[in-house]
Amino acid sequence: MTDVLFFIRRIPQEVAAAWAIARKDMRTYYLKPNIIMSGLLFPLFMFLAFAVGRNAPPGTLIPGLIAITILFSASSIEPVSIPIERRVRTFDRLLSAPITFHTLVVGESLSGFLYSLGIAMLPLIVGIAFYHTPVLHVVTLMAGLVLSAFCFATLGTLFAAYPTENVGEVMSMLNLVRLPLIFVSGVFIPLETMPVAGQYIALCSPLTYANDMIRFAYDGTTHFGPFYDIVFLILFILIFQFVANRLYKKFNQ
């Protein structure tokens, strides 16, 4: 009985601790140059490299820009912050606190999640203000932004579990995954025009479902339908959370 009470009493405390970790990261890392570089400028230049010179009206490229902006910004905070905290030993504070590894992973992911939601507003506003790109399904767009932001933030936290004090090591590994995702997820090349093997690979990418959902919210076209996009994004979140939790446990004990 006391164990059950302890567990019940712990839930709001764990939520509060996760929120405290997220706030700490916001105060500490949001304005770090390398985070701005990889979270904001990198996806912008990547987008321009593909968008400039194409015949498509700029407004139609906004959903893709939002999707990769979320991918890069959400997954950029923890791969920078956690190796730095390992180096200066502040990460030990989190490891020795009376919180679970779940709380640590969720708290770390929350900061990347909120950061990317803020950054995603830029292409959203640019699309509406400069290219008059209408949003057909506002609720679907919001759900898509929230789910994909949390999914990619957890992906960043997962990679940051690698026990190194070197930011570059984590970023290299992460980019090895992030960069190919852009090309196999229907962001620049529509899924329908991809070879069959590519279409199968696309099924394994969370960016595919994020992009599909955001595109549906803008122009109503979809490959899987928003319901399956939501289901798969939630599935990816759960898998990433589970694996990240196991990795933090494994590498820190």
Binding site: A17, A20, K24, R89, T90, D92, R93, P98, N252, Q253
Partner: protein, 317 residues
Amino acid sequence: MYAVEAHDLTKQFGSLLALNRVSFSVGEGETFGFLGPNGAGKTTTIRILTGITRPTSGTATIFGYDIQQEKLRARRSMGIVSETSNVYDDLTAWHNMIFTAELYHVGRAEREEKTKELLEIFGLYGRRNDTVHGFSKGMKRRLTLAMGLVNSPRLLFLDEPTSGLDVQSNLIIRDVIANLVKEGVTVFLTTHNIEEANVMCDRVAIINRGKIAAIDSPEKLKKTIQSVQSIEIAFDHSAKEHLEGLRELATVNDARKEGDKVRLYTDDPAAVIDGVTAYAKQHNLRIISMTTQGPSLEDVFIRLTGLTIGNERRPQK
């Protein structure tokens, strides 16, 4: 109930045996010192006791809670001050404190009150809104200790609390620890500063190469090596040229020059006093001062750890 109980703690890092069946207990309200040379296993022991590192074998409990099985319950009652001042440089002193309090689930009103109180005690309240980036080493150390106390722990782990600090920070920290002990807080400290352990600790454990060499009160440990007594003598002439002559005296185990004085190690101080007096008369030396000293905790430490300086080994009988 013991505050800390360790049973046969063993930790293996690859081929290195960092801890070898370490067992000890620390009573509630006790100040327990953990002494040992670098790499002896002090920090590994603290990391196991705080649940950061899992032992290869053995168990540890904190106020009866197994640190591996009931980690969260065990951690709630402890404060941890690590060897490095691990503060968030980009946060203010206030936010560092509040963040730590939030991690330890301290209620809103209490954490603000406690933060204010601790920052005042550690002389940092006036700088509470400054980012820690500009703090001196001593200020960061004081803030680290304040962060370790924000949850009002019953057990405080201190890893080298005063290492390399300025006098002011040192005094503040020692004063705070003394007050905590008065309030009944159990203190587990590791230190290189043997005199600090001698003054502060009820009991000390000396660890060497992952094994406990001795556990007892500082005074009892000193009594175990009564043979390492010494006599400190100052002559009116330089003692340097007489070092070898004094070393040759009967019952003198070793002679060392310490500043303008000579220290003679012996297990028979009375015989050495007679010998030194005769030597002084023979060489027309005037004795300015002569004091006998019992073994220090440092002598115990050196004896038990077999510490050597280069090829030189401190006297052991």
